[in-house]
Symmetry: C2
Subunit: 338 residues, 2 copies
C-alpha cells in the first residue's frame, strides 16, 4: 500500500509515500479530527455527503504537503493543521462540483455523491466546505496564506471553465492543455506546499521553492492521471478506464495521438471525441492508436520532465527528512503508471 516498484534504477528501488505518511502521521491525526469537526453541521445532509467523500479513501496528499512543508522549516504550532484541513476541504469541494460538471457516476470506485444525494446536494455541500475552508484560514490569521489560497480558489475555477471551453475541442494544443491543468490541478498543489513556509516564517526563497515544487508536482500528477485513464483497469484506478474518453475530454494522450495521426485517424478522433461515438470498441481503437504513436509513453515522459523541475525546485533547501519525503512523493506520483 502506498508503494510501487519502480522500473528505473537511477533512484530508490521503491517509490513510496511511506516517509511523508510517517512524518505527518501525528499532524494528520489532528487534520482528520478537524475535518470531522468542521464538516459537521446540524443540517444532517452536510456531514453525510461530506463524509461520503472524505472517507472514500483518497490519499490526502495535498494536506500532507502542507504539513511536511511547514515541518521542514521547524514549525510546531497548529496553524499548519488548520491550513492543511482548508486545503483538503477546497479539494473536496472541487471534487463535488467536478462530479456535477462531468456528470460522473463513479469516483474512486464508489458511487458519486451526486448519484446518491443529487446534483443539488453536491453543489451546495461543496459551497459549504469552501466556506468552512475560508473560515479556518481566517482563523489562522495569516494574510499571506489567505492571499495564496484565495487566489488558488479563483484559479482552480478558472481552469475548470477553461477546460469546459476546450471540451471536445481537438484543436486544443499541448500548451493550452498545460494551462488548463496548471490551473485546475497544479495550483492547489502549489498553494498547499507554499503555505507551509508561510506559517513557518520561511524566507521568500523558501516560498518560491515550495511553490515551484508544488506546481510542477501537480502537473506531473495530472499527466500521470491522464495516462492512467487509458492504461489501467477500473479496479486499481478506482474509476472506470476510459472515463475521459467517454466524456470527450481532450487530455494529453489524445492531443498527441491526434497531432501525430493520419487523416483517417483524425476522423476517428473527431467522431469519438467531438461527436461522442465512444463505445468500448472505439476505446480499444483509441488505445491502439495511442500505442502506435507512443502517446502514453510520451505523456509519462512529460510528467517525468515536470517531476525533474519539482526536484530541482527543492535543491537549494537544506537536507531534512521532510525534503527527502517530498522528493519521494515525486517518484511515487510518477511511478503509479508502472
Amino acid at each position: 500500500m502506498g508503494a510501487v516498484v519502480k522500473i528505473e534504477g537511477d533512484r530508490r528501488e521503491v517509490a513510496s509515500i511511506e516517509a511523508i505518511i510517517s512524518l505527518t502521521a501525528q499532524d494528520m491525526g489532528r487534520v482528520n479530527e478537524l475535518i470531522l469537526a468542521r464538516a459537521g453541521s446540524d443540517v444532517e445532509m452536510i456531514p453525510e455527503v461530506a463524509n461520503h467523500l472524505i472517507s472514500s479513501g483518497g490519499k490526502r496528499l495535498r494536506p500532507m504537503l502542507t504539513l511536511a512543508a511547514a515541518q521542514m522549516f521547524g514549525y510546531n504550532g497548529d496553524a499548519h493543521v488548520k491550513l492543511a484541513t482548508s486545503v483538503e476541504f477546497m479539494h473536496t469541494a472541487t471534487l463535488l462540483h467536478d462530479d456535477v460538471v462531468d456528470e460522473s457516476d463513479l469516483r474512486r470506485g464508489k458511487r458519486t455523491a451526486r448519484m446518491i444525494w443529487g446534483n443539488q446536494a453536491s453543489v451546495l455541500v461543496g459551497d459549504f466546505l469552501l466556506g468552512q475552508a475560508f473560515r479556518m484560514m481566517v482563523d489562522v490569521g495569516s494574510l499571506d496564506a489567505l492571499d495564496i489560497l484565495s487566489a488558488a480558489a479563483s484559479v482552480i475555477a478558472e481552469g475548470e471553465v477553461m477546460q469546459l471551453g476546450a471540451a471536445k475541442n481537438l484543436e486544443t494544443t499541448e500548451e493550452n492543455y498545460l494551462s488548463v491543468i496548471g490551473a485546475k490541478t497544479a495550483a492547489l498543489f502549489s498553494a498547499a506546499a507554499e503555505v507551509g513556509p508561510i506559517v513557518a516564517g520561511g524566507s521568500s526563497d523558501d516560498r518560491t521553492a515550495l511553490r515551484s515544487y508544488g506546481m510542477n508536482l501537480g502537473l506531473a500528477f495530472q499527466l500521470i492521471d491522464d495516462a492512467l485513464d487509458y492504461g489501467s483497469d477500473s479496479e486499481s484506478l478506482g474509476k472506470n478506464v476510459g472515463d475521459d474518453f467517454r466524456e470527450g475530454k481532450v487530455t494529453l494522450p489524445v492531443i498527441l495521438s491526434y497531432g501525430r495521426g493520419s487523416d483517417e485517424e483524425r476522423a476517428f478522433w473527431k467522431r469519438s471525441i467531438e461527436h461522442g461515438s465512444s463505445d468500448d470498441v472505439s476505446l480499444e481503437k483509441a488505445r491502439g492508436l495511442m500505442a502506435k504513436h507512443g502517446s502514453i509513453d510520451d505523456t509519462i515522459a512529460r510528467a517525468r520532465h515536470f517531476g525533474e523541475l519539482a526536484r530541482d525546485a527543492l535543491k537549494p533547501l537544506a537536507e531534512t527528512p521532510q525534503k527527502q519525503a517530498l522528493l519521494d512523493v515525486i517518484d511515487f506520483c510518477i511511478s503509479r503508471v508502472n
Copy 2:
C-alpha cells in the same frame, strides 16, 4: 422606478430607495468598475456568464448597504468599495448555484445562465466569483471583515442545504422556515451591513446594530419575496408567479395555509407540493386557499414585524442621512407588495 406608494399612512407617503441610491451613487460607480474588472478573465466564458447576471437589472441592494453603513461612521477610504463588491459577488455566485439547484429557467424575466451556457458553467463561474470575492476581502486585509463574510459564506450554503432537506416537506414549521431564510438570505444582508462599521472603525455596539438591522431586513425581504411569488404577475416580478409553488417550495404562505387548512385542503397541499401536481389550475386553487386563510396578509405582517426589529436596531445610532436612508430601505422592501 425604485419608489412604491405605500398604503399605510404612519410613515412617509412614498417608500423609496432614492436616498440610499443617491448617497451611494459615487461609491457604486467604483463598485461597478470593480465588478467589471474582477469578473474579467482571459477565459472568455467567465465574463460572458458573469455579465449576463450582473447586468440583468438587480437593484444591488446588498452592496449599497455596505457602502451606506461605512459612510455612516465617516469612512472615506476604498475598503468599503472592495467589500461591497465582494458582497455582490457572493450574491451573484449564490444566484448562479441556486439556478442549478432549483432548475430555474427564468430569473428577473431573463433566461438563466444555466439555460444559455449549461449547468456546468453556472457552477464553475459561481465558484470563480466566490474565489474573486475572497481575494478582494483579503486585499482589504481586515481579519474581522474576513471573519464575518467567510462565516456568512458557510451559513448561506448551510441554509440552502437545509432548504433542500425541507423541500416538499409540509411538516416544516414556521420556526424551521425562519432558520432557513435566516441562513440563506438574511445572513448576507447582515454581513453586508456589519462590515460597514468594521472598516470604518465603529464600536462593538455599532457592529451589533448594523448586524441586527441587516438580519431583520433580510428576513423581511425574503418573506415579502415569498408573498410576491403568489401575489404578483410575472412582468412586475421578473420571475414567473407560482415558481415556488411549481418547484414544491414550502414557503411561509404555504406553511400558514397548510396549518390552517381542513383535512381536504391538506390533502390538496400534499398532492401539489409533495407529489408535484402543481399545474395552473392548482396554482389558482392555492391562491384561493391563501386568500381564505389570510396567509399572504399574515406573511406580510410577519415581514412588517421583522421590519420593526430592523428599525429598532438602528435606534441608538446618531441621526445621519445614511441612517434615514437605511430606514427607508426597510419600508421600501415591505412596500413592494402594495
